[in-house]
């Protein structure tokens, strides 16, 4: 078997796609034409190096693309909220069930999107200089990016449902503009999908730990919370509850604020319980 044939087989085994594989083989073929005695190294090792280096760049890019898309979507989400859904609890929905569903999706989706997107960016930024990431780390990065974008889309759909269900009392143009803003937000999120899909198609092969949230947050986490993920989640949930309660008090509705604060805190804990392991927030994650 020739060197090129061996390399083609090993590149396929390493997960390099057909298009990239063809290009690499053409370049190596050209190199061997220039110097038939060139020492290009073991085909398996070379293929693995391609997978490691390209997989690392793709994972990092997925994290950055997801956060950028979520930032744009977040602004449009706020605009849509102000236009079409603000004050919705004090109006009547066409369907109470759909209205409640929309509210739940918008609140939970936004929280998950924020947490996943922010931690994806943190990891991508912290590891910006790494030539090769561990496979487990790249998997975590891609998961955070994917979950962040998916949750962002859910939040957009939830708010759209909310705006439509609670349209009474608002001009139709406000509802329409709200839905249009959400559609643009969703489009921004969908634009990040190719980078995320590309990352999931080629992971590095290098071994190593996935790391956890405390490594991502670095000195931002006080020492008494380090290595104690559940204590960290409880403190974060309590902070969320207090902040929302205070916001309610400022808006002259402390009781409602407290209820919403407790609901958000419980949602935060539930999210941590359900997605914390998958997103590498509370453990070393998958190997």
């Amino acid at each position: 078997m020739s060197y090129i044939e061996s390399l083609a087989r090993e590149l396929g085994r390493a997960g390099i796609g057909a298009s990239r594989r063809g290009r690499i083989l053409a370049e190596i073929q050209d190199h061997l034409s220039c110097d038939p005695n060139a020492e290009l190294g073991d085909p398996a090792a070379l293929a693995r190096q391609f997978a490691d280096e390209l997989g690392t760049v793709r994972a990092r890019r997925a994290g950055i693309a997801a956060f950028a898309a979520l930032a744009v979507a977040g602004v449009l989400f706020a605009v849509a909220y102000l236009l079409g859904a603000r004050g919705f609890p004090h109006r009547h929905a066409d369907s109470a069930a759909l209205g409640s569903l929309g509210a739940a999706l918008a609140v939970i989706g936004a929280q998950v999107a924020f947490a996943a997107g922010t931690t994806a960016l943190l990891r991508a930024f912290r590891r910006r200089g790494a030539v090769v990431l561990a496979r487990a780390e790249a998997v975590i990065l891609a998961r955070r990016a994917g979950v962040g974008v998916a949750a962002g889309l859910i939040a957009m759909a939830g708010l759209a449902l909310l705006a439509i269900e609670y349209h009474r009392g608002l001009s139709s143009s406000r509802t329409t503009l709200s839905v249009i803003a959400l559609a643009f937000g969703a489009a921004a999120l969908i634009a990040a999908a190719p980078a995320i899909i590309s990352a999931t198609r080629l992971y590095p092969r290098a071994g190593g730990d996935a790391g956890d949230l405390f490594e991502d947050l670095g000195p931002l986490v006080p020492s008494w919370l380090r290595g104690r993920p559940w204590r960290f989640a409880l403190v974060l949930a309590a902070a969320i509850a207090v902040a929302i309660t205070l916001a309610g008090i400022v808006q002259q509705d402390g009781y409602d604020g407290a209820l919403r604060g407790i609901a958000d805190a419980l949602a935060c804990l539930a999210g941590f319980a359900v997605l914390g392991g998958y997103l590498g927030l509370r453990s070393a994650g998958p190997a």
């Binding site: 370049e27 050209d30 290009l40």
Partner: protein, 103 residues
Amino acid sequence: MRPEALKGHLDSLILAVLEAEQLHGYAIIEQLKQRSGGALSLPEGTVYPALHRLEAAGLLASSWSGAGRKRRVYRLTRAGRRALVARRGEWKAFTSAIEAVLA
């Protein structure tokens, strides 16, 4: 020079070699050898993954060359030029500090 000694510097070397002109993979490796007087003789295969990675990171751009043999030619992007300037600065600061200690 041992290949391990080049780890961490390969990206800067590739960017520097491509600063003046666009080159294909084999020519980049030859330039590295020539400009270092043969001291920088790294495993040739390692350069190609680095070229693909630098391109994916937006520091290089590439295209197939015109007629004749199918050949991928690399050139610096604007971001690549900025990265090269930054790396040169870091390298000068690093070597100055080391020289000050060793002298």
